[in-house]
Symmetry: C2
Subunit: 566 residues, 2 copies
């Protein structure tokens, strides 16, 4: 009698266990085996920063089911009939004989295991900067359970005074929050000119201002040149511009590299992005081998190009697809990603779906139109909080290409709405009359999402001549060529103002004070208010009164990414 069909999964973090569980449910007769290099299984790795930050204290919550059962080999065996072997590293794949070789990292025993279908879920490894001193004690990442344990210990022991986070991406910023909560003096260093590169510059700058308001130092446009040490211990970092920052701890978060060594050694096709190439069935160049999670490249559904998208949610979805296909045949597909993401940043969140303006331009999208909208998420009487959204659309079709949102308001809901709009292939015209759930505890009567579509529609119809804060900032150099008109009330002006040489005329007084505006009707007038809704109304009044070159600064003062006078 022939042996049972064996589905072998390499990797037990996120995508692997999901694939194994799905395979088990589809084929109850198969033998399902997970070989996991780490001592733990199915770790909630996206939760590490919150454990380090002390949002919760029970480490086991990262490793257990919602009812508190640890997802260990015994759990996998009893609850799922899956043979999960931890501390077991796969050393090679023999495609001709359909076997893998493995080694137990504790016992050093080696062995071979045959497979009928193989699922590779080897994940990714943190990128390390190629600079001297990287081997010093006190340099870590936040990628593994061990890293989380180490940083949690740092938090609890309160011995470390100064730390540097290398990399201002998603993980860097999350780590930064975690350690700031521990009372550590922090500096974030980012080689690029901005934090969070999934955002366009002007929104990233709002995040940066928020991070700085939490007493975290932020250095952008400057990379690390060297880790400095004393007696094998980290004592500081030296930046490319020569600055030296003393610190006892450095957390490296400059991205991850797909773990493709096993796949490459087995001559599976590796894509140009550096991830394992898979088709829509999550199948590699070998029909008997699937690959899922951070080690693969996936299709960007908007651009049709392959990208690396190491996100926990996609890993789970891919695992589900590969598990089913490996257990039966290629029947379900994974369509790819819109690269939707979000992160918490102290009291802010920042999220994005689809393309940013800068990515769209890099990819050659030429006829795009963007708009920035700032408004609260709920009415003031329900303690609404600010949202700043940038929307990117195709100018000729109005098709939504991307949206990004930052602020203390409900960013997650906004991004979810945009993600679904993009998935549905909807246009600006479709969205101006969307029917969303409205009640004051949850949104404005015209939700921020719909209002953003309204502003974009006005811009596309030529009714709103928008100008970005960055363009306005450029104009400050051409002293006197533009007239800056703040149309808020005097109290608001007293409380907060740009201080760029603006003139204050409240909207309600504008019609009777037109004489205070430039006589030259061709002169550029740039209107704004707190969020630029009144700025828009002011522009209409001015245009109706003969001024020919009136613009509205999008997002108003709330979206101004530069320092303000007040």
């Amino acid at each position: 009698m022939s042996r049972k069909k064996r589905i072998l999964v390499i990797g037990g973090s996120a995508a692997g266990p999901k694939a194994a569980a799905k395979a088990r449910r589809i084929d109850n007769d198969a033998e399902v085996v997970i070989l996991q290099k780490d001592p733990d299984l199915s770790m909630a790795s996206c939760g590490y920063p919150y454990y380090v930050g002390g949002y919760f204290d029970d480490r086991n919550m990262l490793l257990s089911t919602p009812t508190g059962v640890t997802r260990d080999p015994k759990f996998y065996l009893n609850a799922k009939d899956i043979d999960a072997r931890t501390n077991t590293e796969v050393t090679s794949i023999d495609r001709d004989n359909k076997t893998v070789s493995f080694r137990n990292l504790l016992t050093k025993e080696t062995g071979e295991l045959a497979y009928d279908k193989l699922i590779i879920a080897t994940g990714a490894t943190p990128r390390m900067p190629p600079v001297p001193g990287v081997e010093l004690d006190g340099i870590t990442t936040l990628q593994s359970m061990q890293d989380a344990d180490f940083l949690r210990k740092v938090r609890d022991e309160k011995c470390i005074k100064k730390a540097v986070v290398i990399g201002g991406g998603l993980i860097g910023i999350e780590t930064c929050e975690a350690l700031q909560l521990a009372g550590i003096e922090l500096t974030v260093i980012e080689l690029l000119p901005q934090l969070l590169t999934f955002l366009d510059w002007e929104l990233a700058k709002l995040v940066e201002t928020h991070v700085k308001s939490k007493n975290v130092n932020v250095i952008t446009g400057n990379g690390i040149a060297e880790f400095l040490g004393e007696n094998g211990k980290l004592s500081g970092v030296k930046l490319a511009n020569g600055t030296e920052l003393p610190c006892e701890l450095a957390i490296v978060a400059i991205g991850v590299i797909p773990n493709v060594r096993l796949a490459r050694n087995a001559s599976l096709t590796i894509g140009e992005t550096g991830g394992i190439e898979v088709n829509e069935f999550m199948q590699t160049s070998d029909p008997d081998i699937y690959a899922v999670g951070d080690c693969v490249e996936v299709l960007n559904r908007l651009t049709g190009k392959k990208v690396l998208a190491p996100y926990g949610d996609l890993a789970n979805l891919q695992g589900r697809v590969a598990g089913e296909n490996a257990a039966s045949q290629n029947i379900v597909t994974f369509p790819g990603t819109f690269q939707t993401g979000i992160c918490k940043i102290f009291d802010f969140a920042a999220g994005s779906t689809g393309l940013s303006e800068s990515v769209a331009k890099k990819l050659g999208y030429e006829d795009i139109i963007t708009v920035i909208n700032a408004s609260p998420d709920k009415p003031g009487f329900m303690e609404g909080m600010l949202l700043v959204t940038k929307l990117i659309a195709e100018r000729n079709t109005g098709k939504i290409l991307g949206a990004q949102c930052v602020g203390p308001g409900n960013v997650s809901k906004q991004i979810a709405q945009w993600a679904m709009a993009i998935q549905g292939g909807l246009t600006v015209e479709d969205l101006v009359n969307s029917d969303l759930p409205y009640a004051p505890p949850f949104s404005l009567a015209i939700d921020h999402f719909i209002a953003t579509a309204h502003i974009m529609q006005n811009k596309m119809k030529g009714r709103l001549n928008g100008i970005s804060s960055m363009q306005v900032h450029e104009k400050l150099k051409d002293n006197g060529n533009s007239f800056f008109l703040d149309v808020r009330g005097p109290d608001e002006y007293e409380e907060m103002r740009l201080g760029i040489g603006e003139t204050l005329i409240p909207l309600g007084a504008l019609r009777s004070r037109l004489g205070e505006l430039p006589e030259d009707k061709a002169k550029e007038i740039i209107c704004f208010c707190k969020i630029s809704l009144r700025g828009y109304e002011a522009a209409i009044v001015l245009e109706a009164n003969g001024w020919k070159n009136v613009k509205v600064m999008e997002g108003g003062i709330m979206a101004w990414p530069y320092p303000r006078e007040k």
Copy 2:
């Protein structure tokens, strides 16, 4: 010289001011006039319950812009160049001469005003029960600013001990929360067998349990027969079944009737629903007259049928469309509604978009499939809270017809996602791989929304043989014909259980304890757990071991709408 084009708006609550403001922005030369019967303008009427409940104390927040400027006639004149006249009731429309007659309710002066385009936004009036005693002192609605003032006074003065809310719909439930917060002993009476009829029964029942847990009495399936009084003052209500409930205050919230008297007297077409008939341009049967807001009927975008949908968000969107068309020509359209709605109920929210199962069935949809999913909105370590969703789809196409969600979790985001999915015409197959914003502070790795699509997909593929809690409850009468299998852990069972004669075998022990299951492999076995994820895995194990009639109770114990033993 001919006079300016005049756009006349009847009604100044929500849709009217929006239409007027949009008309002004589109045509800066036109004269825009609002005639408003009430003393206030542009009231945030959806906020009344929260003012009454004491979420905020500044009454002016309901009547002012975000920066605190009251939206009074002076504001409309100065900021928007709109002539808004309050306390001014329109008494008739003369379509032949294109004039309206009006009367000032304070000065009693009357007058006439010509229009080029007329926009009717007369709103709706609360329905009153046709029973004796309705004129007694102490009976109110929560529809106007005056009502809100009255009920806020009730809250602040703390003189009233007992109140009855007639009607368990959205406004009734919101009012109920407001008054409960004021320490008033409350009873809600609903003629139908359930609260919140936009939900299906089993979800409404979960809301009812929550309302009752706040010490509010709920009486369903019983209407009011009479208001009882002493000396002209309300002393109680008598129900259809004879019950008498003493109370000093009754709030009637049994729905609203569109105010169509003016339109009907002017021989404009009134639809079968009782609302003013309008086309996609929000234009009535008279091309010079538009109508918007609670007084019109609108298209249900799923069914193609006209419905009454008196929601504040739709009123604003319709106002924007009518304002633009009246100011220029018919260029923009309002596509209709998916009847998306939400309300806060103490620590719960309840929302819905599209069709409920019961409405779909009434409308003749025959081949539909439903599923219930219960799961937290976020990981346990981020204090995730429960969501219970019911999804309704077309069986043959997988097209989403409707979704409803209740619970303490982030219901608003869930419903927004479903609303966008329905608007995009997406199917279950599309949604199983949606790319939503994931990070632990905001969602599970597989969001509740996607998990719901997964369960539906499993059901559609025949992998999950679901059974509703209601069907299970029916089976309790056929004593012994079904075997109820709870597959949770002993601790969980000790803490909470149904007590319907179930057998407890934890999932992890199931494979080794199959001997405890019915010998008859044809016997019906109904599996469940807290949310029925483990229940689903148990069913797969049992089927693999030869049992032929295994079902999973959808939503598990968390979606069980009946009393539990524990």
